[in-house]
Symmetry: C2
Amino acid sequence: MAIPSKYVRENMELFAPFMKPEQVIVNVAKGLERGTLLRLSQVIRQCIPQCAVCTLVGPSHAEEVGRGIPTACVVSGDNMSTAKMIQSEFISHTFRIYTNSDEIGMEIGAALKNVIALAAGANDGLGYGDNTKAALMTRGLAEIARLGVKMGGNPLTFNGLSGMGDLIVTCTSMHSRNRRAGILLGQGKSLSEALQEVHMVVEGVNTAKAAYDLSKKYNVAMPITETINKVLFEGSSVHDAVLELMSRDGKEEIYY
Amino acid sequence: MAIPSKYVRENMELFAPFMKPEQVIVNVAKGLERGTLLRLSQVIRQCIPQCAVCTLVGPSHAEEVGRGIPTACVVSGDNMSTAKMIQSEFISHTFRIYTNSDEIGMEIGAALKNVIALAAGANDGLGYGDNTKAALMTRGLAEIARLGVKMGGNPLTFNGLSGMGDLIVTCTSMHSRNRRAGILLGQGKSLSEALQEVHMVVEGVNTAKAAYDLSKKYNVAMPITETINKVLFEGSSVHDAVLELMSRDGKEEIYY
């Protein structure tokens, strides 16, 4: 099931009467529900409580999986025996699957990486270099991890395929719509112009708002997310935003 | 001081008589000493014990720093007051510096990322996609972190600029000689042909051997490092090596 996050609840409510308790739902959507700020596996469980739900995420552009290009993902679930069942069902020579019991960390990483991809795309659109982008991605993952840990996630999950791995592929691949939207913003287009040109759902825009709301709810400093929100929804210039991020006081690298 | 790691000791011995105790040495070299397997800051301290030594690393291709492109690095040292002094001396609007007290983790990440860059380059040379490369980089950092933690590093350091950040820039930028050497290996060239074509020091080749020795010394599983060693020094084919990595048994994602 890879449908835009805003349609997950209504679709799950439609599916619910037809789902049998022995069926396992594998959630591959990446986002947060607007308003409730719930992870999508939580939304699915609310709608279809009779079924076990697993979440399968990681750096896996469908364009490449379909061509048999070697890909590695990670699966979590209500309990690890279900996750291990999904692992053994789907694993192959070209599709490698790890298990991880930290569903919270996995889903927060998979969802919020799209926000950082907007920033990484903007970096590319502005013509900044590899150093700046690597720093943005690293500090972006650091703020995602700070939030995820406050929400109950394991800090090491963010080092993994659903965190760092998915972030890398989303920030560097032309398959990523979030990155493409960011490039257009960096080139000076407005949000509505960028969305019209990408012409597909750009999850990072909705997730940026939800991530900002979560940062306030959990009282976590998320300077890149905050800056992206200013660019998306308050008309800040992308160029000034990068300068603002670079001119904060010197900090220690690790803090939660 | 950014000289190849194999010449650090002899150069430091030459410098030693001229260094005054109030001088601070900022180490920006990335590698391990062959044979002793020492980090380079350890080598410098052995040769010049009268001086404080800091280590400054992170995603910072000199080609971009010199052009004023925004860059972020991290500094550590014998004590944090020296590191903070270096932070405040070097920080600017285009060069952002964090501090981290974990010198071991920083130097292990900065050195061993060159080994993973050889693998990432080979991935590109083979024509594999973004998914495979993101997985290689993520699992590569996981094995670097496993080793670094056994050596006394903080697992969170590997999430930072010296770990993930430097790994990203080295594995994705054409400025990286290690990646360029890996691309040539992926295209079927021999190690000596690749080194001749890159025509500059490729630290990852020496570091691969040292990393393998460290993995045995500390009894840490490092499948990517082991595979790269087979390709570099035992004539294994790059194509078979990737298949071998992908067909290991299903594992849990996080283990130390």
